[in-house]
């Protein structure tokens, strides 16, 4: 780099040799930061120009699987962009459903076919459109016609994809409600609260 030199009497620089290329290659490879010509000059012999060495290195790597690219005011190695799609490794990291979605899904599974107001009724709180949408998008629930009552609300039920998630052959393979609700005081209130059709056991599906 010219900075190192007395600007009044710039000595003529040598052509980059193999040794300087090796050193530059190793430095750029191992550095966590882009290597600037100035940084390279610190390890090069004084009669070598860092800029020329980097240019020669860039030429050597042209068209290879790894290329020397500019980054900030330095250079770094980067795998060739055209190879990226072939190097890509997709790692599956499945999410867990949020609690609201899980509860909604379980209510649909046990009470299907069920309307949205009925789901809200059972959970005792409003059901957000977002939750319903996410379950729809994941193909875990699907509309199953409409109830022939005022307003003709949509009925919801689970999908084959839902069964596949659990590795179930049939919705009847879910634990029985009666077994689940064991120990819970048989809710005396339920008859008044739940419409009669919600009382159907899950195997009525």
């Amino acid at each position: 780099m010219s900075e190192n030199l007395d600007p009044v009497s710039p000595k003529p620089k040598r052509e980059p040799d193999e040794d300087s290329l090796r050193l530059a290659e190793a430095l750029v490879f191992a550095s966590a930061e882009p290597v600037t010509p100035h940084g390279l000059a610190r390890v090069l012999a004084v009669d070598l120009d860092a800029g020329s060495v980097l240019a020669a290195l860039r030429a050597r790597y042209a068209g290879r699987g790894v290329e020397l690219v500019d980054a900030g005011n330095g250079v770094m190695f980067r795998s060739a962009p055209d190879l990226a799609p072939r190097l890509r490794k997709v790692i599956e990291s499945p999410r867990r459903l949020p609690r609201v979605a899980m509860e909604t899904l379980s209510i649909v599974a046990y009470h299907q076919p069920v309307t949205r107001p009925e789901i809200e009724h059972i959970r005792g709180t409003a059901l957000s459109q977002q939750t319903l949408d996410s379950l729809l998008e994941l193909d875990l629930i699907a509309p199953k016609g409409r109830r022939e009552s005022p307003g003709r609300p949509t009925l919801w039920g689970t999908t084959p994809a839902f069964l596949a998630h659990f590795g179930l052959k049939d919705i009847r393979e879910l634990p029985r409600r009666e077994d689940l609700l064991l120990g819970m005081a048989p809710p005396r209130l339920i008859p008044e609260i739940l419409p009669a059709d919600l009382q159907a056991p899950p195997d009525a599906v």
Binding site: F29, V90, I91, R96, M102, S106, A109, M184, L189
Partner: protein
């Protein structure tokens, strides 16, 4: 035991004069470490370590160290004491054959441990002489990741699924807005209405209890109704619609149609 000056202590150092060695005692990682260095300094095959001369050297070092610094670490003194015992067994074995064997076995055990430590130290040196990653050779400074995380799938486990259902049901039945507990307590307003309705048909003094509503199942409901009816009767008595009478403390409260009622209906 400092780790800083291991460089000096590690390789085949020739035995320094004992004064210097005293000062260097801290450079050894315990008595075994010093013993090994003394053994190496014998410049003989490690297989033929002379335990006796080793013992003498060790004891000399410890003695020298004690002359300068009295507070020598316990493990050095324990080793010194043990080596003194070992020396006595090796030099003047007791008539009993046991003691001789004891001494020889102990010496062999010590030699084995020294050989083992020597192996380890050689391996450590061998490892340290290799190009070490991050010191002599460097890996890629900025690795790239071509990993892509696919989070589109969801995981549903039967356990959480079933628990979610139970929680929803429990919470739903607990705080559902559709389950208001019917308020069956008899209010003062209720009692006023009932008293006003019934006061006209009163033939004579009647106990207050007669004005309580029917089907008061629980004692709580009954007491609430009685209190409300009493309050209502006091209010009506103040307006003169009814008369109240109580013959004795805690006795039954009696009600009769008042003059105001008669006036109004007249």
């Amino acid at each position: 035991m400092t780790s800083m000056d291991w460089m000096e202590a590690s390789s085949d150092i020739s035995l320094p004069p004992s004064e210097t060695l005293v000062l260097h005692l801290d450079g050894f990682d315990g008595p075994l470490d010093l013993l090994l260095d003394l053994a190496r300094a014998q410049k003989v095959d490690m297989a033929r370590i002379s335990i006796l001369s080793l013992v003498d050297q060790f004891l000399a070092v410890i003695e020298g160290a004690r002359r300068i610094r009295l507070e020598l670490a316990a493990d050095w003194l324990v080793m010194a004491a043990w080596l003194t015992w070992l020396k006595s067994r090796l030099l003047v074995p007791n008539a009993a054959g046991d003691d001789l064997e004891d001494g020889e076995m102990a010496a062999e055990a010590l030699a084995t441990r020294l050989r083992e430590l020597n192996v380890i130290r050689t391996v450590a040196a061998w490892l340290a002489a290799r190009p070490v990653l991050g010191q002599d050779v460097f890996a890629r400074g900025v690795p790239e990741s071509h990993h892509e995380y696919d989070r589109s799938r969801v995981i549903i486990e039967a356990g959480p699924f079933v628990r979610a259902y139970l929680e929803a049901i429990r919470r739903g039945t607990k705080s559902s807005p559709y389950t208001p507990r019917a308020l069956t307590l008899w209010t003062v307003q209720d009692a006023l209405r009932r008293l006003a309705d019934m006061a006209g048909s009163l033939p004579d003094w009647t106990t207050l209890e007669q004005f309580l509503p029917d089907h008061m199942d629980s004692p709580t409901e009954r007491r609430a109704a009685l209190a409300s009816t009493l309050l209502a009767s006091l209010e009506m008595a103040r307006g003169g619609t009814i008369h109240l009478r109580q013959d004795e403390a805690f006795g039954p409260i009696l009600v009769r149609q008042g003059s105001a009622y008669a006036d109004r209906t007249a």
